[in-house]
């Protein structure tokens, strides 16, 4: 009781003996926040594991069924499609958001560019708009009959495409939407990372005859690589949980022909439309496992990245 040493504030002796009123204040202040976190995060996490081993419809009490939810899950071809689509979506989004974000960040950090702040403000705009609204806007633009994309394609002599009504193109549209919506986020964090690089590096390199491209490859890229890695992991985790766009555009069906079915939409459909909350929990546990791996990678690189970003 006397010697409590925190991880973050070592050797602060005056705090080792805290007076009773202060201790009371600390406990009092934490009661409500901790009650909320326990009730709506910690207990549910444990319950999710329990439900995944049960049949549960929220009307009758859960019935233990062992691992049969998981067995059913992995043998369901629609689940397999959802897993495949989610991974394709995640990889494509991460790559595209990275390239677009980096490219635009390089552009808005050119000191001779007029209106740098204006451009950065514009690029970030889609991040703040609700995904439901964004999905509806793009569904209208990708409309196969009167959409602007097909109009633009017509100008360069390409026949109208079915887009969202085609099983081979629908997922691509969902990917494009998320690149439009989220790349601006990367622009902001990459811009900050690039601006943190000391000018001395570029000046020294210029003496050695470096130009724009060699500057980029040998100075900018290596020095912001921790930020890039971090952005890759965070956007991977975010894309893995894609829901809103698919749900809004396909009315929760993940169509056409399950070509846009993703894990979270699959989970929602079975749990909340099908009232199979045990089965849905099993899906969530599988997703948790995959996300856990991504999060561990994030934690490993998190330290070096926050040091390098120096926020």
């Amino acid at each position: 009781m006397g010697k409590v040493i925190t991880l973050t504030m070592p050797i602060k002796k005056r705090y080792s003996k805290l007076q009773a009123p202060q201790r009371r204040f600390a406990y009092l202040a934490l009661i409500i926040p901790m009650a909320v976190l326990i009730t709506f995060v910690i207990v549910p996490t444990i319950l999710a594991g329990y439900y995944s081993l049960n049949d549960f419809n929220m009307i009758k009490p859960p019935q233990f069924v062992g691992l049969s939810n998981f067995v059913e899950l992995f043998s369901d071809p629609i689940f397999q499609a959802a897993l495949r689509n989610t991974i394709v979506y995640m990889v494509a989004c991460v790559a595209a958001q990275l390239v677009v974000g980096l490219g635009l960040a390089i552009i808005v950090t050119r000191e001779w560019l007029l209106g740098r702040t204006f451009f950065r403000t514009i690029y970030f705009l889609p991040v703040v708009i609700s995904m439901v609204a964004v999905s509806i806007i793009w569904q209208w633009i990708f409309d196969s009959r009167v959409g602007l994309i097909n109009l633009a394609l017509g100008f360069i002599g390409i026949a109208p495409q079915p887009w969202l009504s085609s099983a081979s193109q629908a997922l691509l549209v969902i990917i494009i939407i998320s690149v439009w919506k989220f790349s601006g986020y990367n622009v902001v964090i990459f811009t900050a990372a690039i601006q943190n690089i000391s000018k001395d590096y570029y000046e020294a390199a210029a003496v050695d005859g470096s130009n724009g491209w060699t500057d980029f490859w040998f100075i900018t890229l290596p020095l912001i690589s921790p930020t890039l890695l971090f952005a890759i992991i965070t956007s991977a985790i975010g894309s893995f949980q894609v829901f809103d766009s698919v749900y809004v555009i396909t009315q929760g069906m993940g169509g056409p022909n399950f070509s846009t079915m993703t894990l979270l939409v699959y989970l929602y459909k079975h749990a909340f439309d099908g009232m199979r909350f045990g089965y849905g929990s099993a899906v969530s546990i599988v997703m948790f496992g995959i996300l856990m791996i991504l999060t561990l990678v994030q934690l490993r690189i998190g330290r070096s990245s926050s040091e390098a970003m120096n926020f």
Binding site: V4, K12, R14, Y15, L18, F25, A26, A29, L30, I32, P33, M34, V36, L37, F40, V41, I42, V43, P44, T45, L47, A48, M58, G103, V108, R110, L113, F124, L125, V128, I129, S130, M131, V132, A133, I136, I137, W140, I141, V146, L148, L151, G154, W180, Y185, T234, G238, Q241, D244, Y247, Q251, L267, F272, G280, S281, M287, F288, L291, T295, F311
Partner: protein, 290 residues
């Protein structure tokens, strides 16, 4: 090296200037093109929102509406309880923001500046909850909520979102940098713990408050999945929920749908344009939000 550079300079400053001019022109073109790609869809919804229904099916599409139909706004309010959705969003988002600011800052302060038995265990538990994805907790959280009778209610939307581990962590990181001597001095002067929190800690953490307020507002204003789970009746729908269900109900009524989309997005866009500096600063301050 020096020789190469010299010969470069010698070879002609005009060609170098042209090169530099061209590469800068390319950068400008890309920057402007990207800005158009971002802004154009938003302008397009404005045009569509004021067209008549038949006009949206003309091929090739007209750009500006042939006639601006401002009665489309009235039409929207007649078709769906849009004002009610808006009110619901405000009634849910506002308390979520205020409660988060209060409880996250208070807990963050405690974790940053107090020592007491069990602190580390509690703090690690809080950190661990950051890593638990929403889809794992949403089914049991809904089951728990139902036993409280909070389904299809404002409470069901507000209470689970009223405090978050991310916010606590953000606040704690920020408050670590407040000099402990200041707090000590205030205590010496006989200030109560609440007074120290309200008059010293809160004012010195303005930037963290601004960042957290922005994130919480965006998250709660744009939330879709949780309201979709909790809310059953049309009168309780928040804006995103009402918008999504309007789209399913009035398939292909694009002027109506676009008017609703426009009016839903406009408040957020206005808030963003006014506070845009705070937005970027908030993101950078929080490190990276997952």
């Amino acid at each position: 090296m020096a020789a190469i550079k010299n010969s470069d300079v010698y070879r002609g400053s005009t060609s170098r200037k042209i090169n530099k001019f061209l590469s800068r022109a390319v950068v400008y073109v890309i920057a402007i093109l990207a800005a158009i790609i971002v802004v154009f869809p938003l302008i397009w919804i404005i045009f569509t929102a004021f067209k008549s229904l038949p006009e949206t099916y003309v091929w090739p599409p007209t750009w500006l509406p042939v006639r601006w139909r401002f009665d489309n706004i009235a039409q929207l309010f007649k078709t769906i309880p849009f004002a009610r959705y808006f009110l619901n969003s405000v009634v849910v988002s506002l308390p979520i923001c205020i409660l988060n600011l209060f409880f996250c800052s208070l807990s963050g302060y405690i974790f940053a500046k107090f020592n007491f038995p069990g602190k580390n265990v509690i703090f690690i538990a809080v950190l661990a909850t950051i890593m638990i994805p929403f889809q794992v907790t949403m089914i049991p959280a809904f089951a728990i909520l139902k036993t409280f009778g909070w389904n299809n209610s404002y409470l069901g939307l507000i209470i689970p979102a009223m405090v978050g581990a991310f916010g606590i962590f953000l606040m704690r990181q920020f408050m670590m940098s407040i000099p402990t001597e200041l707090i000590e001095a205030a205590r010496m002067d006989g200030a109560s713990e609440w007074r120290i929190y309200l008059q010293l800690i809160v004012p010195s953490s303005r930037h963290a408050f601004a960042a957290l307020a922005i994130f919480t507002f965006l998250d709660s204003w744009n939330a879709f999945l949780w309201p979709l789970i909790v809310i059953d009746t049309p009168a309780m729908r928040t804006l995103p929920l009402g918008l999504a269900l309007l789209k399913t109900q009035y398939i292909s009524q694009w002027p109506l749908i676009m008017m609703a989309t426009l009016l839903t997005s406009l408040p957020v866009i206005i808030v963003y344009i006014i506070f845009q500096g705070q937005f970027t600063r908030g993101i950078l301050l929080s490190g990276l939000k997952q």
